[in-house]
């Protein structure tokens, strides 16, 4: 059972400028590729501050924004929307490999 499904929890995300990869702002003000490294804002005020921090740390990333997440009993955070789940986790199907001659 998720602790918080109301959407109060937020993380800051963006795309990395150099390659477009999805990144999340961590507690140290660094942009990390893994969602589990993301700093979590737990209320509206904290979320505003997090977004301000993201904008201050925006060299090398594109258009930071807040993502609504939930937190499980085990502390694992997960985006609420399917779009953000896909951004965080990647394609939901297996892409064909470069040297493959058949789709497996």
């Amino acid at each position: 059972m998720a602790k918080n499904l109301s959407g109060d929890l937020r993380v800051a995300s963006a795309n990395r400028l150099v390659d477009g990869m999805v990144v999340f702002l961590d507690d140290a003000g660094q942009w990390a590729e893994r969602l589990d490294r993301a700093a979590v804002a737990r209320d509206t005020r904290s979320a505003e501050i997090l977004l301000q921090r993201a904008r201050l740390e925006s060299f090398g990333i594109v258009e930071p924004f807040l993502v609504a997440v939930s937190e499980g009993e085990d502390g694992r955070i997960e985006p609420l929307s399917l779009r953000e789940k896909i951004r965080a986790s990647g394609l939901t199907f297996a892409a064909i490999a470069a040297e493959a001659v058949r789709y497996a």
């Binding site: 400028l17 477009g20 999805v22 040297e99 001659v101």
Partner: protein, 557 residues
């Protein structure tokens, strides 16, 4: 002897593309150095076809009129391997999208394209996009004239055209040279259909204001017959009227189809004709030698008429049922006796529609070199076409394609699904398209069943922008997001065959993702029980109307 039978860049083209590569390289350098903001840089990268999508940059590469040489296809494979993840996605506008490009490498990727006379200019932005054509052009039995000659003329006129670089919205042109439209000309901003009048002259029917997206419209004929040498003047007049009156205050009402709808086809025609009158004898009138020079570059390959009935082919038909089915669905007649047009299906069971790995692209290039005059086409139905294959070579081509996984005998059948990239890639999408296509494809994978069902076109879009052409699918599927849940709205009866262009009718409430296969199954079952002899799915739908299909689907889901 030229290595292609289509337009080859001249020095002017090469210089223009080369200069653009260097401009873009400098723009990227300045962006990475922080000298340009994203707001400043975004229009520059979009002009070069570079989008930022959900989790990476995407480079959209123009494939003019869907025609590629084997050399170009090999280069696309090389670029996908070197600068992307080793695969690409062929689109409904005959382009190729690479979905994992790095910004820092994008200039090198574009420079590599220029090595084979290709680019990504005007594959985005509010300008005239890549002009598309019948993928059987230059080979089709029913063709009056090769439409690619005119696509190339339009390309040269529209590339970096200063007056039309900031249109109210993007602008898409398609041209067909055959009465059996394979270019969907009635659902483009401008569709051009070459036809021969009673005097034996060939000219264009000019269709304006078609389009899909949020507000689907079938284009209106502004000119029944336009002499060919007046084409550019008429296009310029039409674009000028659109540029003047098209709405810029509302993104969703900015396409020319909305202008035509709001002022009416008659008024639009008056405006265009008035503008045209002032310029028809200008420098835009095409000189015969100009047309001939470009047409000469599309001279057909020197194919010798050959045997139309080849014992080896007939024998394999009896031995191998899949080959026999492939001949029926994937092989079309060629204008030169003894030859055929082969469609390589990029829709093997369960595969993402339109995707090809670098190895597969190279494999198709090899087959084209061996058996199809080194030429390949990209269809708007997201398949590849080998346009000039000798009938006696069909067994070898079939085997070679089979080794690549591209010999599925399903062209025009229920698993030959058009699907946009959807929410797995696209920042605009509301729902996924590819996984839905994969599930339907796997469910109907049995070839004998597909051929029993017959011609049935499923088209899937992940949002209302309709890149998957769902409005004109016999079965159209549109992904929608309702409170964070993916639902799929089904429409029936869409079509783009010439003279029968129709927009689908929405069946009813959208169905959950997990029920979409059941819903399609119910539609097919209704058709199979009710069809008369020779009726396709869409014919039965037209005869019976929506109700029996609706009843069956909502009982099933």
């Amino acid at each position: 002897m030229p290595d292609t039978h289509f337009y080859r860049y001249d020095e002017y083209d090469r210089r223009l593309v080369g200069e653009r590569v260097e401009q873009f390289r400098d723009q990227v350098r300045r962006r990475l150095a922080g000298e340009l903001t994203e707001e400043q840089f975004k229009p520059l990268r979009l002009t070069n076809g570079l989008y930022l999508q959900l989790h990476a940059y995407m480079l959209r590469i123009a494939i003019p009129y869907g025609t590629l040489s084997s050399r170009q296809l090999r280069k696309l494979a090389e670029i996908s391997r070197k600068y992307d993840r080793g695969y690409g996605h062929f689109t409904t506008r005959q382009n190729l999208q690479l979905h994992w490009i790095k910004l820092e490498q994008a200039p090198d990727a574009i420079a590599a394209l220029a090595e084979v006379d290709m680019h990504s200019i005007q594959t985005s932005g509010n300008c005239v996009r890549n002009t598309t054509a019948d993928h059987f052009a230059g080979a089709a039995v029913d063709e009056i004239e090769d439409p690619r000659v005119w696509c190339e003329i339009v390309r040269q006129w529209s590339t970096l055209h200063p007056e039309f670089s900031f249109l109210p919205r993007k602008f898409k042109i398609a041209i067909t040279g055959s009465p059996n439209d394979r270019a969907a000309v009635r659902v483009h901003d401008i569709g051009l259909r070459l036809w021969r009048n009673d005097q034996g002259e060939v000219g264009f029917e000019v269709i304006v204001g078609g389009g899909l997206g949020r507000t689907p419209m079938i284009g209106k004929t502004l000119r029944e017959f336009l002499p060919k040498d007046e084409l550019l003047a008429y296009l310029e007049a039409t674009l000028r009227v659109y540029n003047r009156y098209g709405r810029r205050d509302n993104l969703f009402k900015a396409r020319i189809k909305i202008l035509v709808h709001e002022i009416g086809a008659e008024k639009m025609c008056e405006e265009v004709e008035a503008e045209y009158e002032s310029m028809k004898d200008s420098a835009l009138r095409l000189a015969p030698e100009t047309i001939e020079a470009i047409a000469g570059q599309f001279a057909p390959p020197p194919l010798q008429p050959g045997r139309t009935r080849v014992p080896e082919v007939e024998a394999l038909k009896l031995e191998d049922r899949n080959f026999a089915l492939w001949l029926k669905s994937n092989v079309a007649p060629h204008r030169v006796p003894g030859h055929a047009i082969v469609t390589a299906s990029l829709k093997p069971a369960g595969a993402p529609p339109g995707d090809a790995s670098a190895a597969q692209m190279e494999g198709v290039a090899d087959i084209a070199d061996a058996y199809s005059q080194s030429e390949i086409r990209v269809s708007h139905e997201q398949n590849l076409v080998l346009p000039h294959v000798a009938i006696e070579d069909l067994p070898a081509v079939y085997r070679a394609l089979d080794r690549l996984g591209f010999a599925e005998a399903n062209v025009g059948k229920i698993t030959d699904i058009i699907a946009c990239p959807g929410l797995d890639y696209c920042a605009l999408a509301n729902a996924r398209s590819i996984p839905v296509a994969q599930r339907i494809s796997r469910h109907f994978a049995a070839l004998s069943r597909q051929h029993d069902i017959g011609d049935l076109k499923i088209k899937i879009s992940g949002c209302i922008n309709a890149c998957g052409h769902h409005h004109v699918g016999h079965i159209g599927i549109l992904g929608v997001d309702k409170n964070g849940i993916e639902l799929y709205q089904i429409s029936l009866g869409g079509d783009v065959d010439f003279g029968r262009t129709a927009l689908g009718t929405i069946l009813g409430p959208a169905v959950p993702a997990e029920k979409i296969v059941d819903a399609v199954d119910a539609l097919v079952a209704t058709y199979l029980e009710a069809r008369s002899a020779g009726e396709r799915f869409v014919d039965t739908y037209r005869r019976l109307g929506v109700q029996p299909f609706k009843d069956r689907v909502y009982a099933a889901v």
